[in-house]
């Protein structure tokens, strides 16, 4: 979506219910600014995110996808984020292997107390993706307007 030729990326952020979503909430309460183009999807745990979710986000128009979960060791379900860590590593590596820009995907651990980190991460990620431009390699033309 281009407005005045200025590219504003659409970012999908999967946030775990227990830490990162609360972190995002805190960012809001603290009035820490991050772009409105970040669409947050709350998930029960970072390991709920199936590789397909990431791909589907790209299909539906995301330019970057970020997964936020509890810090390793802090998972509400003990080990969910450890599994997520391996899964996302493998998926990102595969995307990279297929020639899809590796900077479009990211995992960040954000606790409920890290509102500032959440906002900073999002700002940084949006900046990175803005530099990359529109997602062309993993787009579904049918979903474009």
């Amino acid at each position: 979506m281009q407005v005045n030729n200025e590219f504003k990326p659409t970012i999908v952020a999967f946030c775990c219910n227990w830490c990162s979503y609360a972190g995002a909430d805190l960012a809001g309460t603290n009035r820490a600014a991050y772009p409105a183009d970040v669409k947050i999807i709350r998930v029960p745990c970072s390991c709920r995110v199936n590789p397909m979710f990431i791909l589907r986000a790209f299909q539906r128009g995301a330019d970057g996808v970020i997964l936020c979960g509890c810090h390793p060791g802090d998972c509400h379900y003990t080990s969910g984020n450890y599994y997520a860590r391996r899964r996302m590593t493998m998926l990102f590596s595969m995307l990279d292997y297929l020639g899809i820009e590796r900077e479009r995907t990211r995992v960040e651990w954000v606790s409920a107390a890290e509102g500032a980190k959440f906002a900073a991460t999002m700002n940084e990620f949006v900046a990175t993706v803005t530099k990359l431009g529109e997602n062309k390699r993993l787009e579904d033309l049918r979903c474009k307007n």
Binding site: R60, G61, R142, C143, N145
Partner: protein, 340 residues
């Protein structure tokens, strides 16, 4: 008969491509496939392409119609556009016959306008075979590989391409390239036809008997005890169906793009388990039944409905592509001997 020196083949393609899109087989690392001709592309004389030529008239997927849904209202948006003229060069005799078969499905009332439009705008230029392979069994279905059908038939003999138009569309095409062609006598072509017919006699499957599938054999073949054995190794994939030039079953599906609905159709395979799946059950629950459907359709149902014409052209693609090497030839040989 018209002829063009092979050295001028590139000019011939250029002349056609100047007016309409031209597709022809091009060699790739993994065999030949149809590609759009542009300067620098070389025609492949490979026996056959990986995918059949049906793609040009019945593509793997195409949009049928779009919808917009808002509240209780629905808007129907016809997305059909004018089809452009195009030429397919290098179609073999088997694939050329497949269009006759597809016509009998798509052009009977009610006409499928998507297919009809492409048929109307497409000109088929066939090339006679000179080096048939062991998987060829077109002869079994009365197809002469040395005299292919199509709008224009051509032969590559000696150092020239010989052309003859069979239809008005074909004549129009030849008229466009008239400046490149000259008259020639047919002796080279005749000699080649004879030579290829001699080669064909050595092919193991050219005389595959089809007698067993003629007449009213529907229940006999359907109830044959051999189906479970034949289908045992079948993986239930769609390879045979998708490489087949005559397989025409399709599925229709809706895709929600987020700002509208696209209704498209795509090739379907009777080998797939969801082919006949309904809300309350499935009329073909096992792979035996699905496997049987495919071969019964080609060998019995289609001929019954179409004056004895078989739904197979013997191109041999399924023979070379099937992951487990089960194919229509084995089915015909096995069921042909049925005397139950």
């Amino acid at each position: 008969m018209k002829k063009i020196a092979l050295s001028k083949l590139n000019d011939f393609f250029a002349a056609i491509a100047a007016e309409e899109k031209l597709y022809l087989p091009v060699d790739g690392e993994k065999g030949a496939d149809y590609k759009l001709w542009e300067e620098g592309v070389t025609y492949s004389r490979a026996l056959n392409t990986n995918r059949s030529a049906k793609d040009f008239f019945f593509p793997q997927t195409e949009n049928i119609v779009d919808f917009k849904r808002e509240g209780k209202t629905i808007e129907v948006i016809d997305t059909r556009t004018e089809t452009e003229d195009f030429v397919v060069f290098g179609v073999r005799a088997c694939d050329a016959r497949s269009f006759t078969i597809l016509d009998k499905v798509f052009l009977v009332d009610p006409v499928d306008s998507f297919y009809a439009a492409r048929r109307a705008h497409g000109t088929i230029v066939t090339v006679a075979c000179t080096r048939p392979g062991e998987t060829c069994f077109c002869g079994a279905f009365g197809i002469d590989m040395t005299a292919p059908e199509g709008d224009v038939s051509t032969w590559i003999a000696e150092d020239a391409l010989w052309l003859t138009a069979n239809t008005q569309k074909g004549e129009a095409l030849l008229a466009k390239v008239a400046s490149l062609t000259e008259e020639g006598d047919t002796s080279a072509v005749d000699a080649q036809k004879e030579a290829v017919k001699e080669i064909a006699k050595k092919l193991p499957l050219q005389n595959l008997p089809t007698e067993a599938f003629k007449g009213n054999v529907l229940l006999e073949k359907f109830n044959s005890a051999k189906w479970p054995e034949l289908s045992k190794a079948c993986l239930g994939c769609g390879t045979c169906t998708f490489v087949c030039p005559t397989c025409q079953c399709y599925d229709i599906f809706d895709f929600d793009t987020g700002h509208g609905i696209k209704r498209a159709r795509c090739w379907d395979s009777c080998m797939y388990s969801d082919f006949t799946k309904m809300a309350h059950g499935n009329s073909r629950n096992s792979q035996v039944e699905r496997f049987r459907q495919r071969f019964m359709h080609k060998l019995v149902y289609f001929p019954m409905n179409n004056g004895g014409e078989f739904g197979c052209v013997g191109c041999g693609r399924c023979l070379s592509k099937c992951p487990i090497n089960m194919n229509i030839v084995k089915v015909m040989k096995s069921l042909g001997g049925d005397a139950e």
